[in-house]
């Protein structure tokens, strides 16, 4: 077993020769730091995150380029005070203060309730969408848990760099207390272990009170198969796919259609379309002023605009081959719009039906449908997000889609934004243990 410590109470060690550490000692230190965390109120913690978000918003911040390149700008909005209060309240029966003290949750129930941290959360973070791993850690800290994070091989340095930056921020809370970022980050340890290192994975799993995993099927199944303590909570964000639906009523004119195309292009380009919330297929209802094929053309223009501003970062050779085959096939039997290189592709055919097999690297299949409700059969528990561009029918369709397994139905343009619930659950709610007293 070999575990490299990339970040702990000593700060960022990712850029030096990271020491191999004893997992047991790291966990002991984390639990001690967790005790410090428990002494603070959730609003104090939120104030500190708000200060971090403000610092990261500055274009002169030392991590500004890193945040931009990794599409982490969303964090600076998500970590603001108002949003964090909202998501904590949402997940904790309307009262985040249950994290601090016993609270009444119902006027007709004499009991009081408290949300106790579960203890140690072990996070297995995927490399495809860095922001999601960081959001998990922030939620772990808000719930006053200790956090052990196994970072992905593809992105070892990012999380330690962000944690180190958090460590250097301080604020004065509403109660006049000075809070250092280290109070938060002392309760986080980021480590790297080779995915073949079964013993390291086994020890992390056995230590966990909550196992939180992001990843593909093989990764999450491997984690789930590890031994665990009785009562350990699992929060699994496994492989899912997403699509978008555009109703005819939203295609009443070219400007409106262009705005929707722009939103979908933004959703599809975020994280180079590697997120579970990235659309791969766009169903366009016939009958609008803009027909599905013309919409596909507008979408292609918007994809190109984003590509010029923020080009695709990486592509695997096998993805190139598959996308080129799709481009050729659609050029022969439909229409293919695409960049010169592998920047983006929009593929349309009047005969296209169902979900397009995902090609990634900003590849969108545009399918005509005669009725937006025709998309319902394409959904299952494997569908994460369906972005909607609809008028009055949106809740009716959302009801039908979610009944088939879809997790969320935001407006197009917001598909890539993390919110709660996610994958059918409020993670913050799962990171605590509810207790009551009379």
């Amino acid at each position: 077993m070999q575990v490299q410590v990339l970040f702990d109470q000593s700060g960022n060690r990712a850029e030096s020769d990271s020491p191999t550490g004893s997992l047991g000692e790291s966990i002991q230190r984390l639990r001690a730091a967790q005790d410090e965390l428990r002494r603070l109120s959730v609003d104090d913690l939120i104030s500190l995150f708000d200060e971090i978000a403000r610092a990261w918003s500055s274009p002169r911040h030392s991590l500004a380029a890193t945040l931009r390149e990794n599409e982490l700008g969303f964090l600076t909005l998500w970590m603001r005070e108002r949003n964090l209060r909202r998501i904590c309240d949402l997940a904790l029966h309307g009262s985040r203060h249950c994290l601090d003290e016993f609270c009444s949750l119902s006027p007709v129930d004499a009991r009081v309730f408290k949300a106790q941290p579960r203890g140690l959360i072990v996070h297995w973070v995927a490399g495809n969408v860095p922001v999601l791993g960081i959001i998990s850690v922030v939620q772990g800290l808000l719930t006053k848990n200790a956090n052990l994070v196994k970072v992905p091989a593809s992105d070892r340095g990012l999380l330690p760099a962000l944690l180190n930056s958090m460590r250097g921020v301080s604020c004065v809370t509403a109660s006049g207390m000075r809070l250092d970022g280290a109070t938060l980050t002392n309760a986080v340890c980021a480590v790297y272990a080779d995915r073949q290192d079964r013993e390291a994975a086994r020890q992390m799993s056995l230590a966990a009170d909550v196992r939180l995993a992001w990843g593909g099927r093989d990764a999450v199944e491997a984690i789930m198969s590890l031994p665990r303590k009785f009562g350990t909570e699992d929060i699994i964000h496994g492989p899912k796919l997403s699509f978008a639906v555009v109703g005819a009523e939203k295609l009443a004119g070219e400007e409106q259609a262009r705005a929707i195309a722009r939103s979908i292009a933004r959703d599809a380009s975020a994280f180079d379309q590697r997120g579970c919330n990235s659309p791969h297929t766009v169903f366009v209802e016939a009958g609008g002023v803009t027909c599905p094929q013309d919409f596909a053309k507008l979408l292609a223009r918007e994809m190109d605009t984003i590509h010029r501003r923020q080009p695709l970062r990486v592509i695997a050779p096998s993805e190139t081959v598959e996308i080129l085959a799709q481009r050729a096939e659609y050029a022969m039997q439909g229409t293919a719009w695409h960049s010169e290189g592998m920047g983006w592709s929009v593929l349309f055919s009047e005969n296209g039906r169902g979900l397009g097999g995902p090609c990634y690297a900003r590849t969108l299949f545009v399918r005509p449908v005669s009725d937006v409700f025709d998309t319902v059969p394409f959904c299952s528990g494997a569908t994460q997000t369906v972005g909607l561009a609809l008028g009055d029918r949106r809740l009716a369709l959302a009801n039908a889609l979610t009944a088939r397994g879809v997790e969320r139905c935001p407006e197009v343009g917001s598909m890539s934004l993390y919110d709660a619930p996610w994958d059918g659950l409020f993670p913050i709610g799962r990171m605590v243990r509810w207790v009551s007293a009379s």
Partner: protein, 355 residues
């Protein structure tokens, strides 16, 4: 090459509707001057798995690729013109390696008579036999030295030893022919492990083909295989030739030259493209391999991209006077490692019916 490729593109443009649409979408019109092979549009060979692309109705046979990397084989429709071209080109390229006159072949595989419908491996064996048919046109006599036993190739070592001994006694110029994986797994590896050597005449060639995909789990590379072949058959390295080729441009083969370098013959050219920009990379840099040849008449396989990575090694002639672009196959195009929660699901989730 350029005029011949342009003429071939014009033929398919005129006779294959789907291909014409593809060319139009790429802004390619064969009636216009073509300045460079780099400007010839291309598509991945996988398109032949999905679409039935034909440029004539006079089809005499439909070839299926080995389909080792997917469940669906490529379907290549052949007419007489294409088949004749393939045979002539194959004979010419092979003759350039082993000499123009026919010679005895020892085939390290089961004979066609072993193909029986009650044998679960009948399809695999008949496909193997079909795949080596072109090479055997250069044979004056054929000796099969393996049997198909319950779907598994089993070498008849005594027969191999006796046949080889006879040719050594006659000092005959012979060829040993085999699929690479059969050569390694069923002949060379077992003989090598058992310390058995079977001497071949000094002028013999060992030709093996069919690719390395089936040897991925065996942890054997070309240098190791060559060393083992050399020890088992007591022949020098320069008599062992790995041959690369693919169904979508059948007839064109790329044998190693004396120095182990594959070179394009006068009938084809290779371009290595960057997987992100699709632009040609500098010589020596790895990329996706595009092959061009004017050979195919019945299907538009003039300019295709493989899902293999490779690189250009040299454009200079060898000391032995071999011309053509020297290239190397690096391996299969690899997939993405960081899909995480956005990874693909089992195919049953998709209902792909387009375009």
């Amino acid at each position: 090459m350029l005029p011949a490729v342009r003429e071939a593109m014009a033929h398919h443009y005129s006779h294959c509707e789907l291909f014409r649409r593809f060319c139009e979408a790429r802004g390619f019109n064969p009636a216009k001057p073509l300045d460079s092979l780099l400007d010839v549009p291309y598509f991945p060979v996988t398109v032949f798995k999905r679409l039935d692309l034909r440029s004539t109705d006079d089809i005499i046979r439909v070839l299926n690729s080995s389909a080792t990397s997917s469940q669906t084989p490529s379907r290549i429709a052949l007419d007489n013109i294409t088949r004749n071209r393939q045979m002539r080109v194959l004979a010419a390229i092979l003759g350039d390696v082993i000499g123009a006159s026919r010679r005895p072949f020892i085939v390290l595989d089961a004979p066609p008579s072993d193909v029986r419908q009650d044998n679960g491996n009948a399809l695999a064996l008949s496909a193997r036999i079909a795949g080596m048919r072109g090479y055997l046109l250069a044979a004056s006599e054929i000796h099969y030295v393996l049997s198909d036993v319950a779907g598994r190739p089993v070498p008849d070592i005594d027969k191999l030893r006796n046949v080889a001994a006879q040719f050594v006694a006659d000092n005959a110029a012979i060829c040993v022919l085999a699929y690479t994986y059969i050569l390694y797994k069923y002949v060379v590896r077992p003989l090598y492990d058992a310390g058995i050597q079977i001497e071949l005449p000094p002028s013999a060639f060992v030709l093996h083909f069919g690719g390395w995909k089936r040897l991925q789990d065996e942890a054997v590379d070309k240098a190791t295989l060559n060393r083992m072949i050399g020890e088992v058959f007591k022949i020098p390295r320069n008599r062992i030739r790995d041959i690369f080729g693919f169904t979508e441009q059948l007839g064109i083969i790329y044998p190693d030259d004396e120095n182990g370098v594959k070179r394009t013959p006068v009938y084809s050219e290779v371009i290595v493209r960057d997987p992100m920009t699709l632009l040609p990379v500098s010589d020596g840099q790895p990329g996706l391999l595009q092959f061009l040849t004017p050979l195919p008449h019945s299907y538009p396989g003039v300019s295709v991209l493989l899902d293999d990575m490779g690189r250009i090694i040299t454009r200079e002639p060898s000391e032995e006077g071999r011309y053509g672009t020297g290239f190397e196959i690096i391996g299969r195009a690899v997939g993405a490692e960081i899909r995480g929660c956005g990874d693909t699901l089992p195919t049953r989730v998709y209902e792909v019916t387009g375009p």
